[in-house]
C-alpha cells in the first residue's frame, strides 16, 4: 500500500518546498490518503491513543524536569514541597504525568492483546510486532526509572530490588553480578549517584521510544493495517482514506480515553499509587511489602514463583523475550482469532492468566487463598500461571496452528462489511 504518491502541491511555495523537502508529501501520503481497511474496530484506535500518551508524558515530563531536583537530599521535597504546592498547576502536571504512566500501560496492553487476538504479528508484519516489543521494553525501563525519581520509600526499595536482580549473576560467575550491580548504582548502595543517572536515563529513554515509534509506524505503512478479519486488502473497495475516516474515529475514541484519564487525575490521583511513596526514602527502614507498579505485577509474580533467584530472573527475562518470537511460534495460516475457535479460547485463558498473575504479584509473598476449607498458597497460583504463560507461546501456539480446523474466511473486507449492514465497529 506504499503506492504512488497522490500529493499535488497547491501553491507555488509548496511546489518550491516539495522539490527540496517533501515533508508535506510525506504527511499527505501517510496521514491523509493512506488507504486503511474499512473494518477497523475500536481496538484499533489505541495506536493513536498511545501516540497521544507518549506526547503527554514528554510534554509534562519536560515541565516537571524544570522544577525537579535529582539529589537524594532534595528530590522528595522538590516533588512534594515545590511541584505539588508551590509551582503553578504543578499538582496538575504531576498528576497527569504519574497517572499518564498508568494510562500509557493500560493502552499498550490493550494494543498488544489486540495484536495477539487478530494475529497482527504474522507475515508480513513481523518487524512491526518486534519493534512494538522493543517499545514495550523501553517503556518498562522508562517507567521504572521515573518511579524512582520522587525518592519515596517505594521508589528507593523498588530500585533496590530491581537492580539487585543483577546480583543473581553471582551464582554463575562469582562476583560478576555484584560488580554489575555496583556499577549500576554508582556506589555500594542505591544513593545519590543512582538517582542522578536514573533521572538522566528517564529523560533520555522517551526520545528513544519516540524514535522506535517512528520506525513502528513506518513499518506499518509498508503492508498497511491488519484488520479484525485478518485477511488481506484486495483492492480499493476494501479501504477508505485515513483522513477523514480514521482521523475522526480515532479522535472520538481518544476523547473518551481522555475522559477516563481525567477521572483518575482529578478524582482518584492516588489510585495507582502506593502510600509508602509519600514517605521520604529511608535506607534503614524496609517497607513490609515491596510492590512494583501494577503494570509490572505479572512479571513480579513470575519472578517470585521460583525459589531460586537466578532461575527466577531468567523466567522473568524469558517471559519478555518470548514475545519477540511470537511471529514464528504461531504456525497457523489464519491471522484473526475470529476464525480460530480453539485459539480464541486459549487466548482468553491467556488474558485471564495475565490478570491472575498480576493479582498474585500484588499480594505479599506468603499470602494464601482460603477456599472451601483448603489453603492455597498464592505462589502455586503464580507457578501454574507462569507455566501457562510459557506454554501458551512455546507449546500451544505452534501446536494449535497445526491441528486447529479454522472457520471459512470471508471473501473480502468489502463483502463482509456490506453483509453486516450498519455495523462498523
Amino acid at each position: 500500500m506504499a503506492g504512488q504518491s497522490t500529493y499535488v502541491p497547491g501553491s507555488g511555495l509548496s511546489r518550491w518546498f516539495d522539490k527540496r523537502l517533501p515533508i508535506m508529501r510525506l504527511m499527505h501520503d501517510t496521514m491523509t490518503t493512506f488507504p486503511t481497511p474499512r473494518n477497523l474496530n475500536i481496538w484499533y484506535t489505541f495506536g493513536g491513543i498511545l501516540t497521544f500518551c507518549l506526547a503527554v508524558q514528554i510534554v509534562t515530563g519536560v515541565v516537571l524536569a524544570m522544577h525537579y531536583v535529582p539529589n537524594a537530599d532534595l528530590a522528595f521535597n522538590s516533588v512534594e514541597g515545590r511541584i505539588m504546592r508551590e509551582v503553578n498547576y504543578g499538582w496538575l502536571i504531576r498528576y497527569i504525568h504519574s497517572n499518564g504512566a498508568s494510562m500509557f500501560f493500560f493502552a499498550v496492553y490493550i494494543h498488544m492483546f489486540r495484536g495477539l487476538y487478530y494475529g497482527s504479528y504474522k507475515a508480513p508484519r513481523e518487524i512491526i510486532w518486534i519493534l512494538g516489543v522493543l517499545i514495550y521494553l523501553l517503556m518498562m525501563g522508562t517507567a521504572f526509572f521515573g518511579y524512582v525519581l520522587p525518592w519515596g520509600q517505594m521508589s528507593f526499595w523498588g530500585a533496590t530490588v530491581i537492580t539487585s536482580l543483577f546480583s543473581a549473576i553471582d551464582q554463575v560467575i562469582p562476583n560478576l553480578g555484584t560488580a554489575i550491580t555496583t556499577w549500576l548504582w554508582g556506589g555500594f548502595a542505591v544513593d545519590d549517584a543512582t538517582l542522578n543517572r536514573f533521572f538522566s536515563l528517564h529523560y533520555l529513554l522517551p526520545f528513544a521510544i519516540a524514535a522506535v515509534v517512528g520506525l513502528h509506524i513506518w513499518a506499518l505503512h509498508v503492508p498497511g493495517n491488519n484488520n479484525p478479519l485478518g485477511i488481506d486488502v484486495k483492492g480499493p473497495q476494501d479501504t477508505v482514506p485515513f483522513h477523514p475516516y480514521y482521523t475522526v474515529k480515532d479522535a472520538f475514541y481518544l476523547s473518551l480515553f481522555v475522559i477516563l484519564f481525567a477521572v483518575f487525575v482529578f478524582y482518584a490521583p492516588d489510585f495507582f499509587g502506593n502510600p509508602d511513596n509519600s514517605t521520604p526514602a529511608n535506607p534503614l527502614v524496609t517497607p513490609p511489602d515491596i510492590v512494583p507498579e501494577w503494570y509490572l505485577l505479572p512479571f513480579y509474580a513470575m519472578l517470585r514463583s521460583v525459589p531460586q533467584k537466578l532461575i527466577g530472573v531468567l523466567v522473568l527475562v524469558g517471559a519478555l523475550v518470548s514475545l519477540v518470537f511470537i511471529p514464528w511460534l504461531d504456525t497457523s495460516k489464519v491471522r484473526s482469532c475470529r476464525f480460530r475457535p480453539l485459539m480464541k479460547q486459549l487466548f482468553w485463558v491467556f488474558a485471564l492468566d495475565c490478570v491472575m498473575l498480576g493479582y498474585v504479584g500484588s499480594q505479599s509473598a506468603d499470602a494464601a487463598l482460603h477456599l472451601a476449607g483448603i489453603d492455597m498458597p498464592l505462589v502455586w497460583l503464580a507457578r501454574v500461571g507462569t507455566l501457562y504463560y510459557y506454554a501458551f507461546f512455546w507449546l500451544l501456539m505452534p501446536l494449535i496452528g497445526k491441528i486447529e480446523k479454522s472457520k471459512a474466511l470471508p471473501e473480502s473486507i468489502a463483502k463482509s462489511v456490506l453483509g453486516a449492514r450498519g455495523e462498523h465497529s
Binding site: I259, F266, V417
Partner: protein, 263 residues
C-alpha cells in the same frame, strides 16, 4: 488510596479467618469526610479548629515541614485572612539567619531567633532526628505534612489511631514497656501516648471539645496539609470533564456523519 481501603479490609478479613491474631491491626473505622467525593471541599471550621489542635497538641512532637504560614491564608485552605496568617507566623520563633557580625548565637551560646514571617514553614519541634528520638523513648514522631497520603486508609486511619486508645488490650496481649495499646496500629504497640483527651483544646468557636471532635478536626486539617490543592482539583476536574463530554458528543456526531455512507 481510598480504593485500597476495601481491598485492605477484604485482605484483613481473610487474615482474620486464619485465627485470632491479636497483633494484626484492625481495619480503620470508616467515616464520611467533607472532602471525600467528587464535590468534596474542606470544612473551614474544622480546618481552623484542626489547626488549633495541631498547634496546641501535635506540634509538641510532630513537624509539618512542607506547610508554610502563607498556606494558611491560601485559597482552598483554612481560610485565615492574610493578617491572621501573619500574626500566627509572628507567634513562632524561627532560628535567625547570621546577623551583621556573622553570629547565630548570643554571647551565652543561645541560638538567636526571629519572629516567623509568611514565607517560613512551620518550624520542627526538634533540631534533628536523634533529638526527636531521644525525647520520645527512641521512637521518631513522623512529619505530618503528608501523613494522610502516607498511610493506607488515609484520614480514616489517622482518625482511628487518634480515637483508638480507648480500647483495652485483650487478655494475654503483650504490651511492651513504654508503649500504648492501639488496635489500629500495626502490631498494636504504639509509642505515641494518647495525644487527645476530652478538653485538650478549648475551641475558640465554642465547639464541644470531646476527643472525637478534636480528632475529626485535626484529621481534616492534616488532610488539607497532605492535599492543599484538593478543592481546586475537584473544581477543575468538573470543568475539564464537562468540556470533554461535550467535545466527545460533537466528535461522535462528526464520526457518524462521515461514516454514514460507508456501510
Amino acid at each position: 488510596m481510598r480504593i485500597a481501603l476495601p481491598l485492605a479490609f477484604a485482605v484483613s478479613l481473610c487474615a482474620a479467618a486464619y485465627g485470632e491474631d491479636t497483633s494484626a491491626a484492625l481495619p480503620p473505622k470508616t467515616s464520611s469526610w467533607s472532602f471525600n467525593g467528587v464535590t468534596g471541599t474542606y470544612d473551614r471550621g474544622a480546618l481552623q479548629r484542626g489547626f488549633q489542635v495541631y498547634k496546641e497538641v501535635c506540634s509538641a512532637c510532630h513537624s509539618l515541614n512542607l506547610v508554610s504560614f502563607n498556606d494558611l491564608s491560601a485559597p482552598g485552605g483554612p481560610g485565615f485572612s492574610a493578617a491572621q496568617a501573619k500574626a500566627i507566623a509572628a507567634g513562632y520563633k524561627i532560628p535567625a539567619e547570621p546577623n551583621d557580625k556573622g553570629e547565630t548565637m548570643d554571647p551565652n551560646g543561645t541560638r538567636l531567633t526571629r519572629a516567623g514571617i509568611l514565607a517560613d514553614h512551620f518550624p520542627p519541634p526538634f533540631p534533628n532526628e536523634q533529638a526527636a528520638r531521644a525525647s520520645n523513648g527512641g521512637a521518631l514522631p513522623p512529619d505530618l505534612s503528608l501523613i494522610e497520603k502516607a498511610r493506607a486508609g488515609g484520614p480514616d486511619y489517622v482518625y482511628s489511631i487518634l480515637t483508638g486508645f480507648a480500647h483495652k488490650p485483650p487478655k494475654g496481649f503483650k504490651l511492651m514497656s513504654g508503649k500504648y495499646y492501639n488496635p489500629y496500629f500495626p502490631g498494636r504497640n504504639i509509642s505515641m501516648p494518647p495525644p487527645l483527651t476530652d478538653g485538650s483544646v478549648s475551641f475558640a468557636d465554642g465547639t464541644p471539645n470531646k476527643v472525637a471532635q478534636e480528632a475529626h478536626d485535626v484529621v481534616t486539617f492534616l488532610a488539607w496539609a497532605s492535599e492543599p490543592k484538593l478543592e481546586e482539583r475537584h473544581r477543575t476536574g468538573f470543568a475539564v470533564i464537562a468540556f470533554l463530554l461535550l467535545f466527545s458528543g460533537l466528535l461522535f456526531l462528526a464520526y457518524r456523519k462521515i461514516w454514514k455512507d460507508q456501510h
